[in-house]
Amino acid sequence: MKITQSSLLKKDWFGLLIVVLLSGTFIAMLKPAFLSAFNLYVLMVSVSYMLIIALSQMIIIAIGQMNLSVGAIGGLVAISFSGVMEVYQISVPVAICIGLVIGTVCGFLNGYITVKSGISAFIITLATLYIFKGINLGITEAEPFYEIPETVKNFGNAKIGTSPIPYLIIIPVIITFLMWVFMNRTETGRHMLAYGNSVQSAELIGISSSKVVVTAHVISGFLAAIAGMLVVCRLQLGTPNIGDSWLLPSFAAPVIGGAILAGGKVDVIATALGVLIVAIISQALVIFKIDPFFVQIFLGVMILLAVFVNRYREYKQESSKKIFNND
């Protein structure tokens, strides 16, 4: 197959990058305040944890499943992280480890039960969503933990030098890079995409489906844990309702990034750009003083639009394949 000059155009992320640049320029022209240091800071803070949430969902979409419990894992980790620091006076690094372990275990349970039972991950993670959320509410009785150590609070507020770049965004950027390497350059990552594409062919060429599914869920749980803890740093407290509103954005970014829900096709960079688009436009709605409820409608419309665009591109690609069949 020859690489054509339009191969750049076929990349999922290329069109999105143009959307990001155009919408950014357009909003900045109408409202110069959009590019103010404060505004960029707020934008990057919201991008930081949304990036991790989106990647946490993306890796499950890659294997053709869904993880409804991303928010519940994030919430459970958030309250455990802040809870152990407040109640047992545990040092920050240990608390972080506890949080990561809880997230990983939750993800492992999701993956393990899904593989062993053969029931769709949708139902399993719906059940575990309520289990994790139930444990969360059972422990906290809906009361937040306020006593967060100063180091954690500072981390949530600090900026790098005098630039508007928050510390919070460092970890998400590194993780995005690692995820890109993982999905594109490692065997396990490629196996996941192969599994998502076709379970049967993946098994025929000797990919262990249980290993792939469990690994994907473990990574998803691990990322949800990081997101939960980042939100604690950001909010400066651990409230039980962290994670409640993650479901829609977690799907929005990968889908806008061209992910196919049937599995086998995800793009880390496009997902990251999807997060950026959602963040830029949500921010713009705030700057233009548009009804906050409209953000909700907008998110929904964005998902539908992305779905239509992906559909159209698929259709285009199919028809171009037919024309050049004899090459």
Binding site: I119, I123, L126, L129, I135, G138, L248, V307
Partner: protein, 328 residues
């Protein structure tokens, strides 16, 4: 003929029935007040709505899809009804038809988008959930309608059968009967099942699968609007938060009832009475847990565990019986 009896014993419904009876026995011995007139009446009202929500989800699961916008449709329909009756002064009966029409319309939109784009209904209804709910909040400015006509609200507090049972339950049971008839004995009902079971085969045998899928979404919207009407008469007002943020509070009962009741998530197999029993079981357990006093915060945890156990048990049962009954 003597095969009939073991067949029934192995069905999911029989297992559920046993569970329901067991739980009734446990709760009525362990707790005080489980069999009190007040509790049974309260139970009957909650069960009625949960059955309706379960059925609304069931008809979309039949297509192999999902309807996450269920709660949002319900709330939109209820708020629209509140606006019709309170602001516009439309009488109760025409208003009810308008509410049902609204629900069906929103379901139709879901169905149209799903069919036209060919995208999984999960993502379509995830998007429309957010759109419907957002539009509703903007239009109503999150204000409730609390001055509904008395004839409308009285229905929800009416008590029948020596004040034990709410008429809402009868309405739900009648709907179950109607759906059972639809899926078992009518041409269109059988076509709906065939389209869900194997879309390609159905298409080849001359069924318009797309039309059938749209019908399922319309029916789902209609049933969601029914549930919304019942909830509105029960609380006596149309409130934007009556199904939680984005209407997501309805999702757990919506999935619990059909899944416990033996409806296949891949589509093509449903059980109306299974869904009904599933809803009864879940409501019973929730109510019992409250009475045992496990603490309201742990209820979700137990419901999650129950859903997990139910699907795992169902898997084992499937393994042992290896039977496929389309509608039983």
């Amino acid at each position: 003929m003597n095969k009939k009896i073991p067949n029934f014993v192995f069905t999911n419904q029989f297992g559920l029935l046993c569970l329901v009876v067991t739980f009734i026995l446990i709760f009525s011995t362990v707790t005080d007040g489980f069999t009190s007139r007040f509790n049974i009446f309260a139970l009957s009202r909650v069960v009625a709505i949960d059955i309706m929500i379960g059925l609304a989800m069931m008809v979309v699961i039949l297509t192999g899809g999902l309807n996450l916008a269920l709660g949002a449709i319900g709330v939109c329909a209820a708020m629209f009804g509140g606006w019709c009756m309170e602001t516009m002064g439309i009488p109760v009966i025409p208003s009810i038809f308008l509410i049902l029409g609204m629900g069906s319309f929103l379901g139709w939109v879901n169905g149209m988008i799903t069919v036209k784009t060919g995208v999984h209904s999960f993502i379509v209804t995830l998007a429309t959930m957010s759109i419907y709910f957002g539009l509703m909040t903007m239009l109503t400015e999150a204000e409730a309608f609390r001055r509904l006509p008395e004839t409308f609200t009285e229905f929800g507090s009416m008590k029948l059968f020596k004040k034990y049972i709410s008429p809402l339950l009868l309405l739900s049971l009648a709907t179950c009967g109607a759906l059972f008839y639809l899926f078992k004995y009518t041409d269109i009902g059988r076509k709906l099942i065939a389209a869900g079971a194997n879309p390609d085969a159905a298409e080849l045998s001359g069924i318009s699968v797309n039309t059938m899928f749209i019908y399922c979404h319309v029916l789902s919207g209609f049933l969601a609007a029914m549930a919304a009407i019942m909830l509105t008469t029960r609380i006596g007002a149309a409130i934007p938060s009556m199904a939680g943020q984005l209407g997501m509070d309805w999702l757990l009962p919506a999935f619990l009832a059909p899944v416990i009741g033996g409806t296949l998530l891949s589509g093509g197999k449903l059980s109306v009475f299974g869904t009904m029993l599933g809803a009864v079981l879940v409501t019973l357990i929730t109510n019992g847990l409250y009475l045992i006093d496990v603490g309201e915060f742990w209820i979700r945890f137990f419901l999650g565990i129950i859903l997990l156990i139910a699907v795992l048990l169902d898997k084992t049962r499937e393994f042992f019986t290896l039977k496929s009954v389309i509608v039983s």
